[in-house]
């Protein structure tokens, strides 16, 4: 099992308690192996792509702005 998957499951198993209420947490995740001389923005986009694919595949709503938008800022 990949470390990313283990961490994603750990997050899913740890709900947020907010004002006395439990809010279930789940995450889509993506991993990218950093390449020598790679541009940091490119690396961010490369980690975002599999995350986005997973999010779409799981049929969950893509909530709010994706990482790509924050990368362009």
């Amino acid at each position: 099992m990949s470390k990313a998957l283990i961490l994603a499951r750990t997050i899913a198993g740890t709900p947020l308690v907010w004002e006395g209420r439990r809010i279930a947490m789940s995450v889509a995740y993506g991993a990218h192996g950093l390449a020598p001389g790679e541009d940091p923005q490119e690396a961010l986009a490369a980690a975002d792509r599999p995350t986005y694919r997973q999010k779409r595949a799981s049929g969950r709503t893509l909530a709010g702005a994706s990482l790509k938008q924050s990368v362009r800022r």
Binding site: M25, V27, A28, A35, T51, K55, A63
Partner: protein, 175 residues
Amino acid sequence: MKIRDQELLARLRTLGSKVGGAARTAGAAANVDDAIGLLGLPEQELTPTVRSALHHLIEEVAELRQELLTTQGRLAELERLADEDSPAPISNRRAFLRSLARTIGYVERYGAACSLLYFDVNGLKSINDTHGHAAGDAALIHVATVLRAHIRASDVIGRLGGDGVLLTRPTRRMR
């Protein structure tokens, strides 16, 4: 008096005058002797005026060093605060991008294997809508905190301002 001596004295006086009426301590006097040894000044050049100027200069340097240490300490604290979104130890955009660039540098120079992991919180918009933006923010901090508890201290966690939390971590021991 030689021209070189006059120049030296003038410079020492300028620096020394800043110190004003600083007290002559036994420790400072010992430091004057140390300085003389370090500078390799010949005995015949050590007039009382030169010694006194040297004494002032040493005090001035000590004072400046103390000021520098204080300033450096304050700067380090401000740097630390600027790099974190309180209360969890999460790098902000600026700090995370800087750290990412550094990690890529390690990959390039030392052949280290490192991964960039991205965790995007599902349904953050609905959390924001149902519980308010403070809850959405708490959700992101919660995810980062859970991650922090399950990774190495050297792994870097950051937020860029979107719905996700990022993580850089070495995946293989460097050879």
